[in-house]
Homo-oligomer: 341 residues x 2
């Protein structure tokens, strides 16, 4: 088969790769229905995060189970499944606390921008639907695998409740689905920070009540203005830079919550500033597995359409253009068709 | 009257000071029953935190109301009251969220190491007992004013619940009362980090089940060893240095909670480390006012004896020795008798 490999800065190749096989008895092999490019893929693509060697890319996936290892019990050949970008046994003490993305057996997935994928710890990582879903739902179910799960975790980590005033820093796919998540959790006011018209539009569709175009200190001032000088109850940080993180922390009311899911790059926090802000801070790689059943049900019941973040669809062999379009912000998020299911 | 003034590094003077008077109609004047020296007083005393001018010291207090301003409604002359080190109106939106120590009208108290004290925003800052308490209870009630309230907040911020495994970094009075608080909240296992025999003893009395004498990376390794390699559910950080904070963060299980109340001095956090630890981080100046009614009741009902942290009692005019004893770690905490009530 052919799969996606990053060779260096902006050097994505779609090339021959060995077809994955069962290597451990807890593995499953999936024939992917679709895959996509993640905002976090852009860090190494842009050369900001170094890679030591050519690296198979992709960690978002859904598809049909082709084969399972001998110890796989709950996942069966022929089922449609969605999995998390982090594998988990879903039984260890950390998983039981709901942090499957820190499971004692965790591996971060890779090589999913391909037609076939090996998934370790299949029973603890994958969730199957009861029936095969219609093709129209594939983008929505694919979104659950990471980008929605991550936006949802941001909102959950930021303690969004019915009636909350929420600000979202970052208008990438995760930030936009953070807006959708906050809306689902009953937020009364959702302030999306964005200066890009198509993203503002999608934020409004997902439930944003206000748009703030200012950034940094001006962005903070604008949030304070919109909240009677007090600040937001919850801020979702979906970028991962020093500026975005400070903007998030400074935008909350004393005692408010920042949920951060943007992978931090060179971010350092002065604890004294945080101390006097009374901020609650929580985040990390989203424990998507915790949320999969609930989020897949919301999609299957037609309650949410997270797949709307895919504003570019390409055949898998054009994956390099998919990266370019996101890098140049011509696309919010690229879905890659595999013709696999 | 005479009161306590810090002139510079290790230069505490007990000298003539104007007797406080009502300056705003929301003020009260208290005749203090007792006051004490706080661990945080040692930062400026040691010259680590610069002072611009001679500074009246002390922010922990309880006593009898001598006089109230015209707008004071609930607090009456003759009542025994306990107040927080941070004033609050207890009505603003931030107070209503339980963060009275970030009240929009907050002032940090000072000048309490004296026989008389002016307390601003008396109705929102002070809580009265229904009867005058017995003299034996004065140390316990004084402890509620800051040091217990702060240890309690550390445990609350660290999400201590029935059955939790808790570690406490710092064996000062706040850390020791963090142990007591965790015990009250139902923690099953409480690991106190201390290398001082008298403090270890008090930690055991307050409910510690394990003592760890190692610090830094060795301390972290020991906590991991005691928790089957997973880490503690909750860690109370009661020091405020880079080392203590890193020790706290590294000692939790993924998804666990660090409550930090040690005033941070030059502490900087790498967000990437925190991201992958899945830590919840919350802290700040304790909103003692939120907890006053509950904690005063626990004292008055004889359920807790937080006053045990006072292992040195001196008359107020020997306040300088009270600071010295704590600075040299000869005393955990010094109570100052005012003969005021």
């Amino acid at each position: 088969m052919k799969g996606t490999v990053l060779y260096g800065e902006r050097d994505i190749r779609f090339e021959d790769r060995p077809e994955p096989t069962i290597t451990k008895p807890t593995d499953a092999i999936l024939r992917l229905s679709a895959t996509c490019v993640c905002g976090s893929d852009l860090w190494p693509y842009r050369g900001i995060q170094a890679i030591a060697q050519p690296t198979p890319m992709g960690h978002e996936y859904c598809g049909i189970v082709e084969e399972v290892g001998k110890e796989v019990k709950s996942i069966k050949r022929g089922q449609f499944v969605v999995g998390s970008f982090a594998t988990s046994d879903n039984t260890c003490v950390i998983c039981r606390h709901g942090y499957q993305s820190s499971c004692t057996q965790r591996e971060f997935m890779s090589a999913a921008q391909a037609p076939y994928l090996r998934v370790p710890l299949a029973d603890g990582t994958l969730v199957a639907t009861s029936d095969l879903p219609s093709k129209e739902l594939i983008p929505d179910l694919l979104a659950v695998s990471d980008v929605l799960g991550t936006g949802w975790f941001a909102a959950d980590a930021a303690n969004v409740k019915a009636g909350s005033t929420v600000a979202v820093v970052g208008d990438g796919a995760v930030g936009l689905l953070g807006v959708l998540s906050a809306k689902q959790m009953g937020a009364e006011r959702i302030i999306a920070m964005s200066r890009h018209a198509p993203r503002q539009k999608l934020a409004r569709e997902f439930g944003a009540t206000d748009i703030v175009t200012e950034r940094g200190d001006e962005g903070v001032a604008r949030i304070k203005e919109l909240t009677k000088g007090i600040g937001a109850d919850s801020v979702l940080e979906c970028v991962g830079t020093q500026q975005s993180m400070m903007q998030a922390i400074q935008s909350i009311r004393p005692g408010g919550y920042v949920g951060y899911v943007g992978v931090p790059h060179g971010v350092s926090l002065n604890l004294e500033t945080m101390f006097y802000s009374h901020v609650h801070l929580h985040g990390g790689p989203a424990p998507v597995r915790r949320y999969l059943p609930e989020l897949m049900k919301l999609v299957l019941d037609g309650k949410i359409n997270p797949g709307k973040v895919f504003d570019l669809t390409l055949p898998l062999d054009q994956v390099a253009e998919g990266y370019r379009a996101m890098d140049e912000r011509r696309a919010i998020k690229t879905l890659l068709r595999t013709n696999g299911a």
